[in-house]
């Protein structure tokens, strides 16, 4: 082979690898943080820590998956944290008097109802998603306080099955984590291979063109908010199962973590772009950052600063990615 051919091959190889890195940057950030974590703390890779970590992120993760669907349509859902609290409270309130399956139903349905109402405002009344879900955020939080009379409620003894579920394992992985994983996989399948995913992505890309193609934009937009509400409620249930109380003050700021996870996962707030797997990685990245900082006992305030910096860093990387795709 001639020298120039070698050079050409070399350049091709370099180009391929950079392309690979740019395309899979979420995954790379994930491994980077994983490696760093493993090195700065011996505790990180222990069974207990990993199990704690995954259990902590499962709740946020569920809300993030819902958030992803909303963000893909070009919207945003600020109400997830409040819905989680409301659902948790409802679960605890009804746990003493009602069959457990009905309790679950009520709690999840309440989340779907609040989400659907946001979706109705956005889809039918063309209200800005930020505003509609901001209103629903305070409404759901208020309802949580009303149902609980402002104080955390203990799960009734009749609901011990919930507690068992919250602390149970299968194949070494906690049940709540399984739920999160299963939902993530379903969401990934929907987004990649199902009409629903195709349509909501298209709506985020160009709503008017989708409408003119004879597709019902309204119902699809409404349903992403409904799903987001449902998943947020599920996330609240998981918290209640884990802690044994339904508290009206959990999930404050959860919407921001969910948005951060989705954005770190490479989704665009303009809509039309995002994958479930990357969101899952985004959730894990955020979780690991928090976890490792706790392990090496960084105080709470600097933690927040560091977290913010890492979010900026991750999103900058993606900007770089979309730029290089463009050229």
């Amino acid at each position: 082979m001639k020298y120039s051919e070698h050079l050409k091959l070399m350049r091709k190889f370099l180009k391929r690898t950079t392309m690979f890195f740019i395309e899979h940057n979420t995954m790379i950030i994930f491994f980077l943080i994983l490696i760093i974590s493993a090195n700065v703390s011996e505790v990180f890779f222990t069974q207990t820590n990993l199990s704690n970590l995954t259990r902590q992120v499962a709740g946020i993760g569920l809300a993030s998956i819902g958030m992803l669907l909303v963000i893909i349509t070009g919207g945003i859902d600020l109400s997830v944290g409040s819905i989680a609290a409301m659902a948790g409270v409802l679960c605890a309130v009804f746990s003493s008097t009602t069959p457990l399956s009905i309790v679950l139903l009520i709690s999840v349905a309440s989340g779907i109802a609040v989400g659907s109402f946001s979706g109705y405002l956005v889809a039918i009344h063309k209200m800005a998603p930020f505003i509609a879900t901001l209103a629903m955020m305070t409404i759901a939080r208020g309802l949580g306080f009303i149902f609980s009379n402002g104080a955390p409620i203990l799960l009734a003894d009749e609901a011990s099955a919930f507690i068992e579920f919250g602390s149970g394992y299968w194949l070494g992985i906690a049940y709540p984590v399984w739920i999160f994983l299963v939902i993530s996989v379903i969401c990934a399948l929907l987004l990649r291979h199902h009409i629903f995913g195709r349509i909501i992505t298209a709506i985020g890309s160009n709503e008017e063109a989708v409408r003119l193609s004879g597709i019902r934009v309204g119902i699809h937009k409404l349903s992403v908010y409904a799903i987001s509400g449902g998943l947020a409620a599920l996330s609240g249930l998981i918290t209640t199962f884990r802690t044994g109380v339904g508290s009206p003050i959990v999930g404050v700021g959860m919407e921001l973590d969910a948005i951060a996870a989705v954005v770190i996962g490479g989704a665009s707030l303009q809509g039309g772009k995002g994958t479930a797997i990357n969101t899952l990685l985004g959730v894990l990245i955020l979780g690991m950052i928090g976890n490792i900082m706790n392990l090496i006992s960084i105080p709470a305030y600097p933690q927040q600063v560091i977290k913010g910096v890492i979010i900026i860093f991750a999103v900058l990387l993606q900007k770089f990615q979309s730029k290089s795709n463009h050229n």
């Binding site: 399948l189 291979h193 199902h194 009409i195 629903f196 195709r198 349509i199 992505t201 298209a202 890309s205 160009n206 008017e208 063109a209 989708v210 409408r211 003119l212 193609s213 004879g214 597709i215 019902r216 039309g272 772009k273 050229n327």
Partner: protein, 498 residues
């Protein structure tokens, strides 16, 4: 050396690649002051890319740019502007939510005093628009204007500062004959004022009439500039396509059947007044008229994209009150809208996703999961059928040239369940070879029994492919012509309301 100095702008050996696509391969283009230089070539030949390099929207990979003989570096649109280069892009670049005046002076809103002087801004805008011979309210929001009016605002915007070079990328594609004539007048005047004008168009007659010299781009390669006087249409086509074109329009032997679309006294809030007509299966009906005569609005009202205020639409004798566009589409209606970027295609999604959008139900299992292989096959077949120039069906539509985007907008309606297709400007921005293919395609669709209603500002095209032409004027149908009565004069006269 003296002759060399005469050039106002020189692009020398410009190369540019997008990922694996080599859009420009050492392209050279030289334009003098007081010259109108036309740039022609097939869709995807690299015309817009070359101009975007000159305007700073893209960066060249190699090559040099000279302005009055001095090498300049253009790293962003701002620098290009400062050098006196103005451009009207093929795709619109106005801000829809802002007013005409704000858009025109967007670059230096309140630059001097820090706050905006609305009155002055509006007066200046009005004067500017009047200077180029039009009348548009400078306080109107852009999204309320027709596309032609938007184009005029684009032109005014480019002219709001002193220019050396003016680039127009297919400006006439959205203008009617009258507006185009006016535009030519302006360009000739600007030329006299000493500007170097680069004009891109797929209308070769227009190009021959207007320009002094013509450069042909083919597959990213440029040829020597030709003086317009020393060439002709066939010669240019030969250079563009690498082959001659015997027949532009298909031989039509219409197979006209039963009436499928009937419109009765249809009115809508915007510009449609009691429009009645019908279209039979296998028939191609043209809707002619000036810009703003209500053609687009008529199509949109039939389809249900705009609310009707009164009147009825019948599809195969069934009265349809479309409460949703989904019902319209399900019962066999389709619309290829006028504004492809805003309404026709999803720019940041793949060609495949765009094309499948109208037939998702057919391409998926009952569970709603998409039959991937079938979808891919369907897309590939359509890409081939319309000769969409792309490497892969998963590439984003925004990476396609304008003409190929148009083909994608059309392709998504080539499904078996479409019975009536309403098409707004089917060949806007499409090169002459592709135009022929689209005409062929429309003809084939009609042969299979689809009823076609076509809006076009190109009278010649309507006269060649239509079986009947309706002329609109101020929202009403002014006249209807059978094929034997087609003449440009007749059509234009009626279009002006005479």
């Amino acid at each position: 050396m003296d002759k060399f100095k005469n050039y106002c702008v020189e692009l020398l050996n410009i190369s540019k690649s997008f990922g694996g696509t080599r859009a420009l391969k050492k392209v050279t283009l030289k334009v003098k002051s007081e010259e109108i230089h036309a740039l022609v070539g097939e869709n995807g030949a690299g015309k817009s890319t070359l101009m975007k390099i000159l305007s700073g929207a893209h960066q060249k990979d190699s090559g040099r740019i000279l302005l009055h003989g001095r090498e300049v570096s253009i790293k962003n649109p701002h620098q290009s502007k400062a050098l006196g280069i103005g451009i009207i892009y093929q795709e619109f670049s106005l801000v829809p939510a802002l007013s005409v005046a704000e858009n025109i002076y967007l670059h230096d809103l309140g630059r001097e005093s820090g706050y905006i002087q609305w009155r002055e801004l509006r007066m200046k805008s009005k004067a500017l628009i009047q200077k180029i011979g039009f009348d548009i309210n400078p306080g109107e929001k852009i999204h309320r204007l027709s596309i032609a009016e938007q184009q005029i605002v684009e032109i005014a915007k480019a002219l709001c500062q002193p220019l050396k070079v003016l680039i127009l990328d297919e400006p006439s594609a959205v203008l009617g004959p009258k507006e185009t004539e006016k535009l030519f007048q302006i360009l000739r005047e600007l030329k006299k004022e000493g500007l170097a004008i680069i004009y891109i168009s797929h209308h070769l007659d227009e190009v021959l009439r207007l320009s002094d010299n013509i450069t042909v781009l083919k597959d990213g390669l440029s040829s020597e500039a030709l003086p317009s006087g020393k060439t002709n249409k066939d010669d240019i086509i030969q250079r563009m396509l690498g082959r001659s074109m015997k027949q532009m329009y298909p031989q039509r032997t219409p197979k006209i059947g039963r009436e499928v679309l009937k419109v009765k006294e249809l009115s809508s809030k915007n510009r449609v007044h009691k429009v009645s007509f019908s279209v039979k299966s296998g028939e191609i009906v043209g809707l002619s008229g000036l810009v703003g005569s209500g053609r687009t609005e008529t199509l949109r009202a039939i389809f249900g994209a705009d609310k009707k205020s009164s009147g009825h639409v019948f599809l195969q004798d069934k009265k349809i009150s479309f409460s949703s566009l989904r019902k319209a589409v399900k019962s066999g209606l389709g619309l290829v809208p006028e504004d492809r970027k805003q309404q026709g295609v999803l720019l940041n999604l793949s060609i495949k996703n765009n094309i499948s959008l109208t037939s998702l139900d057919e391409l998926s299992h009952r569970s709603g999961f998409i039959k991937a292989a079938e979808e891919k096959e369907n897309t590939k077949a359509l890409i081939q059928k319309l000769s969409i120039k792309t490497k892969h069906e998963n590439l984003k539509v925004e990476a396609l040239s304008g003409g190929n985007q148009q083909k994608v907008a059309l392709a998504k309606w080539l499904t078996p369940h479409v019975k009536v297709l309403l098409i707004d400007e089917p060949t806007r921005g499409v090169d002459i070879g592709a135009k022929t293919e689209i005409y062929q395609l429309l003809n084939e669709m009609a042969q299979t029994g689809v009823a076609l209603l076509i809006v076009s500002s190109e009278i010649a095209e309507l006269m060649e492919i239509c079986d009947r032409i309706l002329v609109m004027y101020e929202g009403k149908i002014q006249a209807a012509f059978e094929q034997k009565d087609f003449s440009e004069e007749n059509l234009l006269r009626k279009a002006m309301g005479q």
